[in-house]
């Protein structure tokens, strides 16, 4: 059969355009990595790897270092993961195994709506409502009861600090972990669950023995995606974490801190000395490397264990 010129032409154009668009997506990733490395090059050649351990950031004295922010990023994201993982998995279990179809159809979307709240609004809420509440009721109580543990030191005057940031990041990571683990638990074969229940085990024993143990890699990858969200959050953290130009490495959860992402947001528009912008790019490079590793790890787990595809949206 002879095909019209127009048809062959149209097929070619559509194919060409779609290939081009796909190449653009791949080029974007490369361009982002290149641009960040390029912007950081002056700071990288000046400081080398000692930048990672240097703990003060003071543009006035022309000293820059990422140590405090790496520490703050690990503390806030780690703390948020410690809180969000058990809560999120519990919500995933509730939605997939406990809730009736009708109740689940209401609560599931509500939990996902939590992820739709813009970070800047969550930060505003953190400044005005959560921070003062924490200072007046939670932080002072924890300090007087458990003050001998260095973690629960003197509460800050504003209620802003690492602890508030951890809670805000928990709220952000929670819906991601909950919705991925819900889909994961729903994908467990019903024969396995029914078989366990038929043996006379309780619901929880069935969950522990069948559901949780067969989905362990998927749970890990869900938690990693939640962690990835927490690591990269800039604005809400900047609003509630405090910051400062001195070294911010200390054990007190109620005092000021800062993270890589929030320091980038607060410093990039300033240009006090020539090294400032490259140093901010260096921070972005560190964050980029961490996020690439974390996301590739989650992807590797999904592929290695042949899990159903999952996206944190």
């Amino acid at each position: 059969m002879r095909r019209h010129f127009g048809d062959r032409f149209g097929d070619g154009v559509l194919f060409g355009l779609t290939v081009l668009a796909s190449l653009v997506a791949m080029a974007l990733i490369v361009a982002i990595i290149y641009q960040v490395i390029n912007g950081a090059s002056l700071a990288v050649s000046t400081y080398g790897l000692s930048f990672l351990g240097h703990t003060t950031w003071n543009p006035v004295t022309n000293t820059y270092g990422a140590g405090s922010f790496i520490y703050g990023t690990l503390v806030t994201s780690g703390g948020a993961l410690l809180l969000a993982a058990p809560l999120g998995i519990a919500i995933g279990l509730y939605l997939s195994l406990l809730a009736s179809r009708r109740v689940g159809a209401v609560i599931g979307p509500l939990v996902e709506l939590l992820a739709a709240i813009p970070s800047v609004i969550l930060g505003l809420w953190g400044i005005v409502i959560l921070g003062p509440f924490l200072r007046s009721s939670i932080e002072s109580a924890l300090h007087s009861a458990l003050g001998w543990i260095p973690l629960f030191g003197q509460a800050s005057l504003t209620g802003l600090g690492l602890f508030t940031a951890i809670l805000i990041l928990t709220i952000m990571a929670l819906p991601i972990i909950a919705s991925i683990t819900r889909d994961l638990f729903l994908s467990v074969a019903p024969e396995l669950k029914d078989g366990a229940l038929a043996l006379g085990v309780t619901r929880w024993e069935m969950v522990r023995g069948v559901v949780l143990s067969s989905t362990r890699p998927g749970i890990a990858s869900a938690c990693i995606l939640g962690l990835s969200r927490a690591l990269g959050e800039a604005i809400a953290v900047l609003q509630v974490i405090g910051g400062g130009s001195q070294s911010l490495i200390h054990g007190n959860l109620f005092a000021n801190g800062d993270t890589l992402a929030s320091r980038i947001a607060s410093q990039i528009l300033d240009n006090v000395t020539k090294l400032q912008t490259p140093s901010v790019f260096y921070l972005a490079l560190i964050l980029l490397v961490i996020e690439l590793i974390v996301n590739l790890a989650a992807r590797w787990i999904v592929h290695h264990y042949r899990l159903p595809d999952q996206a944190a949206t």
Binding site: H4, D7, G10, D11, L14, L17, T18, A21, S22, A25, M26, L28, I29, A31, I32, G39, L87, G88, A90, Y94, L98, P109, L110, V111, L114, A116, P118, S119, V120, I121, L122, W125, I127, I129, L174, P175, T202, R203, W204, E205, V207, L225, G232, E233, A234, I235, Q239, A261, I264, A265, I268, V280, F281, A284, L287, L288, N295, R299, A312, T313
Partner: protein
């Protein structure tokens, strides 16, 4: 066959009672976690509605900010216009690109060709928005200054993987029979794709786009790096020439500057933004549910 012990009690004793207690505790904890998450959502939405509603008036939506002794008064008209323009231009860039990528993934590519593209989309999706902001800052802002368009460009990178992924998903839901029937009629591939496949996946594409818009409308970090130096008291339509005021940065600046009047304005702007996002994501959800019903019928 072993004999069954008929003398055993039928009520739970000892070990079984303990197991049931653990079971009940765990159920209660899981239910409690779900209630906790919903409670957080309710508290946040309630705070926004309660504090924002007292700010909301016709004037708040139709007037530009005015600087007073107490802080910022007036409305957020220029920010609504700016946000609208920035997000509209971002959508105009991300939507065609995302749909084309999805068409390549579902209609043309082999699994081997699809893998690196999916990897790139996943990585783009996983990148923090601040890093995308830094990228655009280095690419555009350092050389030619802040513009609303630089903000649009950053937002379009955030929207691209969302749109491409959702579109690809709804394209794979289009039954193969439809494509086969079209091919059997001798219709060329591009006509099948644009005339049969895309129209039947349209509601899914629309859903993905609305969700991406709702996500982009609330993004603050990329805009802080690309379109933050604007005149707060004037309206600007010049997206390629100047920074545009926008709602997320208004909320950010007002919340950081402290002062009761400023924070009150921040809540008003937060209510406007949150209402837009809620309407967007709820209507997208409704569309998705409707189209799933139609497909399964």
């Amino acid at each position: 066959m072993s004999a069954i012990d008929h003398t055993g009690p039928l009520t739970a004793t000892g070990n079984l009672r303990r197991r049931q207690r653990v079971d009940r505790t765990m159920r209660a904890l899981a239910t409690g976690a779900a209630i906790f998450a919903v409670a957080i959502l309710v508290i946040v939405i309630y705070s926004i509605a309660q504090r924002g509603a007292s700010q909301l008036s016709i004037g708040f939506l139709t007037k530009n900010p005015t600087t007073t002794i107490n802080g910022t008064g007036g409305g957020i008209k220029n920010a609504i216009i700016g946000s609208g323009l920035i997000v509209a231009v971002a959508t105009a860039m991300a939507l065609p690109l995302g749909v084309l990528i999805a068409i390549y993934l579902t209609e043309f590519s082999t699994p081997r060709m699809a893998a690196p593209i999916r990897l790139a989309l996943d990585l783009l999706n996983g990148l923090p928005s601040i890093v995308i902001g830094v990228f655009v800052f280095g690419l555009i802002v350092l050389s030619s200054g802040e513009t609303g368009f630089a903000g649009s460009f950053a937002l379009s990178i955030i929207m691209l993987p969302l749109i491409a992924r959702n579109t690809a998903e709804s394209l794979t839901l289009v039954p193969k029979d439809l494509r086969d029937a079209s091919h059997a009629l001798g219709i060329s591939r591009w006509r099948t794709t644009t005339g049969v496949v895309i129209p039947s996946a349209l509601s899914g594409i629309l859903t993905g786009t609305v969700l991406a818009i709702a996500r982009a409308a609330g993004e603050t970090a990329p805009l802080l790096l690309t379109t933050s130096l604007f005149n707060p008291n004037a309206t600007s339509f010049n997206i390629f020439g100047t920074s545009l005021p926008n709602i997320p940065l208004d909320i950010f600046n007002l919340s950081e500057s402290g002062g009761a009047a400023n924070q009150a304005s921040a809540w008003g702007a937060a209510l406007v933004l949150m209402a837009f996002i809620l309407v967007g994501s709820l209507s997208a959800r409704a569309m998705l549910a409707r189209s799933r019903r139609m497909m399964s019928r």
